[in-house]
Amino acid sequence: MTRAYFISILRSVKKSFSRFISIVMIIALGSAFFVGIKATAPDMLDTVQDYYVDYNLMDIRVQSSIGLTNDDIIAIQSMDSNIEAVVGQKFKDALVLVNNEIEKDIDGTQISARVYGINTSLLSNYINYGVDEAVFMNRPRLIEGEYPDAENECLVDASQLSTPESYKIGNTITLVGDNEEIDASLKQTEFTIVGIIQSPYYVSFERGNTLIGSGKVGTFIIVPESVFKQDYYTELYVKVKGSDAYDAYSDEYKNHVAPYVAMVKTLAAPRLQARVNYLQQTLPKQIADAQAMLSDANSVAGSKIKELEESIATMEQSLILLKAQLAKAEETYNVTLADAEESLALNKSEYNESITEYNKMLTEYQTNSTAYAEKYTEYSTAKSEYNTKKAEYDSAYSQVNSLELQLGSTQSAITSAQTVLLQLQESQENSLTNEEVQSMVAVLQTAYPGIYDVIQNNTTAGLAKEMVAYITPVLENYQAQLIVQQQQLDAEKAKLTAANTELSNANISLTAAELELNTANEKLVTAENQLVAYNRELTSAGNEITNTDFQLSLQKIQTQMMITELSNQIEALTSGKATAQAALDTAKLQVNATLGDATEVYQQQIDDANEVLMSLGSAYWNIYDRDDTPGYTSFGSTTDNLSTLANIFPIFFFIVSALVCWTTMTRMIDEDRTTIGTLKALGYENGSIAAKYIIYSLSASIIGCSLGVAVGMYVFPYAIFAAYSIMFTIPELHYTLPIGSAIIGIATSLACTLLSTMLALRKELKSTPSVLMRPKAPKPGKRILLERIRFIWSRMKFSNKVTARNLFRNKQRFFMTIIGIAGCSALMLASLGMHNSVSAIRSKQYGNDAISKYDFQIVFENNQDGNSGEYRTVVNSNSVQSTMLISMKSVTGFSLRTDATEDVYLFVPSEPDRLNDYIRLNNRQTGKTYIPSIEGALITEKFARDTNTKAGDTLFIETSDSKIYEIFVAGVVENYTFHYIYLSPDYYTEIFSRYPTYNYAIGILNDAYHSADEATLSSLKGQMATKLMQVDGIQAVSFTSDVNQSLSEITDALTAVVAVFFFSALILAFVVLYNLTNINILERNRELATLKVLGFIDSEVNNYVLKENIILTAIGALFGSGLGIILHYLLITYAEIDAVMFGRSIEWYSFLIAIILTFVFAAIVNLIINRKLKHIDMVLSLKSIE
């Protein structure tokens, strides 16, 4: 290959980049789809295989009706060196309460759980030290939270479908026995959720069957093994050496394990015998032990009560004592104190008498006192009289004295004056000196005081004569005065003598009075003394009384206090006794309750032991391989279905993309015709000419494939598994490059492109250069069939004739376009149809006028008949229009015609004639309505299909106690969710030889509910449920609408897968339409330019092309619809999941949507094409071809 040639290849890629890209895209889409869908099932299998290996799923499971022991483990272990490990497992089935609320299963019944014990030391070795021991099988895979490390902690199941929403970390799970004492089996019945896990044992939402509740295990929980009381294992797990090397679900695996299953089976008989022997020995002893424990418990309880009673008796004794003391105290208070009071009263009266006496004395004293006062007055009078007389006397006496004194002074004055006078007279004529005068005056002064002044005034220095003159009169005066005074004195002296006499008289009377007074006084003093003495006596008596009184009060108070204290004591003791009595009652209750519990537990143990003892004769071992693990096979069959789908679906994509490739390459080679001719003329060999196109197409398809594989291997497995992950709880998907299908995909698309390139090239390479270099002779026009029908053809408009002829001109493109469009609309239709089918599950089962017409379902604790109280409450509820009792039990159903074994509900209506009011029992195809009767059972459609059963066939059911019954099928009825076998009570009795027991009721609410809007309805239902749940014996109330709601989760996820398909189809449709139309335009460029030259306006040119496209699209859509129906049928057949039946039909509007969408795409493509048409260059297009 020359350099120039290589460059020309690169240039042609560059020049026609959009064409190159369109091939790349088409191939990418096709291979992405092919590889993606192909990879899904292997990815799922791969993931689950790793899961089984990493989490050590057991290979063989041994179950015994009478328990398994370590001896059994050793026996199995030692059978063959290829038995890698054997481990015992304990489990117990129980009903579940979460946070003390009843939890419902998806079908509305109360959920039951299988409680597994986990060996905590194995777990701890595994999680803490990474010890990967083969003996640690079915390991839990922690999703959230942590592993338990206490006996009251548990792990719960992570399944989206089977796990109730309330299974959250931190919530409490309470286990309740179904008519049995769970305490007999478990030490602990309340657990806190600490972790959420997956288990390789439960890959799907199926949990198997149980003997309790609705018969279906709803969920599982894992608790420490030490919680279990039993000393034996419920089942054993066996791991076969080398089994991990084989893929689960492969024949190699089965072949590898099968011999060991057979080997273990041979051990069943001897080991059972050993166990029977052992139990025959030990069970009676166990029973005896339990009974001994029971009586022990009884006596312990008895002695405890006795003890309490004794203490009460003691209390009573001391109460009596206290009461006696109180009585005595009260007596003391009442009698002794009364005496004391009496004597006190006596003393008081005496005292009062003394007071009277005293008062008498007082009166006497007062009389004496008065008398004394009188005497005293008399005396006082006498005294005052005396005093008056005395005064008179004294005055008279002093008068006398003063007069005598006056007389004397007058005499002395006279004497002195006479002396002076004598002096003077002696010295008469002498003048007196001052000193003389002064001395004379001084003499006179005493006798005559006034003299001085007189002299002073009259004579300063007088003469003695003058003085004598002057003194002489004075002397004479004095002498006269003296005489008078002498006379007065005499008179006064007489008076004084009289007074003296009087005074003496008075003195005598005074003395007499004084005497009298003294006598009176003496008398008074005596009386007073007497009075004082008595008073003292009286006071002391009063004091004594007061004292006594006080003492008495004190004594009273003391006694009172004593009484109070005693009363308090009595009261305390009485209440103490009451408390003791209450304590006794409580204790009695408690003891009785404990005793009751113990009794029940022991009784349960005894019953269990007895039951086991009874069953020893029919004891059996069940040996299972993995196929009997719930959901194990359904995972396998789901991947099988997916593989089948992967073989159907992508073929469409491949066909379509191959066709598009072919057309594109053909067009390219046509365009390059002259170049090819030139190259040939230049001497290039055919091979190297072809190489260009082969390289071109191969590189496009290799790029496309790589892109497709790279994207497809993630996108499709991711989306599809996302939907399946509702049903399957396994770890994150591993994405592996599906080498096989990638090679097939790449090889196929390479082959397609290569083949189409070669086909297109073949003719050109055969031609001679000269032919090639001339313009290609246009394809000759041909008459079409329609022209033969003259009356149509002649009536057709010219432009339609053109269109008609154009359509059939290029048959290759005609068919390709139709196939392309048909393929795309088929994919769209199938996707939409799938959506219809998935929605139909809900709408046909629960929608308006659907199959399940009943509004609610009630679970009773005990079996009911029409007159049972609980049932009557439901019947009489004003919310309820009508109800019916039913029996429902989960069993396993199978036929000999297929391998399928299905969990199916055995449904027995108490009044089969009325069942059609609650559940529509129609055959979907014939429309015939059935009523359960003695003729046989009615089974649901999906179950019938899975087991290949028709009316008139027989079926088998296996009940949870491993008994198998044969059932005759009278009819197949339409049903979309779960499997049911409807039996009339008669037929049930015929098959099981016992009467059905009814513990469910289904019913229809009254019209108020049916006309209510959503919000009202939900509150009305809430009220009704609350009311009914308060009734003892009603376990659960569930509403059909709620079941419908939870189903929507499944259908939504499936819808997501459908959406993936749908959008892939959408993209493909667009690419295909665009590509084909584009090529169509390119090929007819010249013709269209001619039209433009002829004067066709743009819209007329568009129309010329559009009409063809519309017709092609219409034909394609029509074929696509047919194809879509087939594809849809294949899809619903292979993609159907267990326990639900997809709707069988595609709704009319899906056809409409698919067709409209196809046309919308055609229209979009046309819009793009119109732009191209507008830009067709007339000059260039019409140039002669160089």
């Binding site: 313009p775 002779a777 246009p778 394809k779 000759p780 026009g781 041909k782 010219f798 004739k801 053109v802 002829r805 154009n806 001109r809 010249r1086 013709e1087 330019a1089 001619t1090 039209l1091 433009k1092 030259v1093 002829l1094 004067g1095 066709f1096 306006i1097 743009d1098 007329e1100 007339m1178 000059v1179 019409l1182 002669s1184 071809i1185």
Partner: protein, 233 residues
């Protein structure tokens, strides 16, 4: 004023960095009813002139008048109408729609025209009365070119534009086609413009426009054109 007038028409093509001047100031006029031959060697700009006149290409500068209308100012829609009613095109390679019979190819044109002639009668006139229902592939080159002419004539256009109508035909057939065109012009008074590189054909025309390198070299008016039969080349 002449029926067709070109006044200083310029046209350049740009391919990548190369600019080709196709028309370099072309001016000429053609009277109504004339048969005009535009002659010149390859690359002289003959076809460009014809394309511009036919309304399938536009000019960069200058004025193109047909019947007094300035057609180079028309928008796409008006141009399409102009092509539809006023212009008939005959191509060197006929450009028949292969999927339509001779009659239908003519109908394709006549159906959109408002003054169309009867298609079968036009075909009879061009001598194809017997081949009405044949597909192009069933006709010889001359016959296909007759269909092509019939398709152009059936619209009853004002101008018939023929781009090397004999280019792909042998001598005899070519002569017949040229006669047909001359007759048409003479009988219907239609203005016919024929492009050819064959100088020998010029005597048949009323007016000869010689072009070279995108310019008009010479315009010759021939008052007595020779019938085609008398021309030899």
């Amino acid at each position: 004023m002449s029926f067709i007038e070109l006044n200083s028409v310029y046209k350049k093509y740009q391919t990548g960095e190369v600019v080709i001047t196709a028309l370099d100031g072309v001016s000429f006029s053609v009277e109504q009813g004339e048969l005009c031959v535009v002659v010149g060697p390859s690359g002289a700009g003959k076809t460009t002139v014809l394309n511009i006149l036919g309304g399938i290409d536009d000019c960069d500068d200058g004025k193109v008048r047909v019947g007094g209308e300035l057609i180079n100012s028309y928008n796409d829609k008006k141009l399409a109408m102009y092509r539809r009613y006023d212009v008939g095109f005959v191509f060197q390679f006929y450009n028949l729609v292969p999927n339509l019979t001779a009659l239908e190819n003519v109908e394709l044109a006549s159906q959109i025209s408002n003054k169309a002639l009867n298609p079968s009668r036009v075909l009879e006139r061009v001598g194809l009365g017997e081949r009405l229902n044949n597909f192009p592939a069933q006709l010889s080159g001359g016959e296909q070119q007759r269909v092509s002419i019939a398709r152009a004539l059936a619209k009853n256009p004002k101008i018939l534009l023929c781009d090397e109508p004999t280019g792909a035909l042998d001598y005899q057939t070519g002569k017949q086609i040229l006669s047909l065109l001359q007759e048409t012009s003479r009988e219907t008074g239609m203005t016919v413009i024929i492009i050819t590189h064959n100088q020998a054909l010029t005597p048949m025309a009323n007016r000869v426009i010689s072009m070279r390198n995108g310019r008009v070299q010479r315009i010759t008016v021939n008052d007595n054109p020779l019938p085609v039969d008398q021309i030899e080349w």
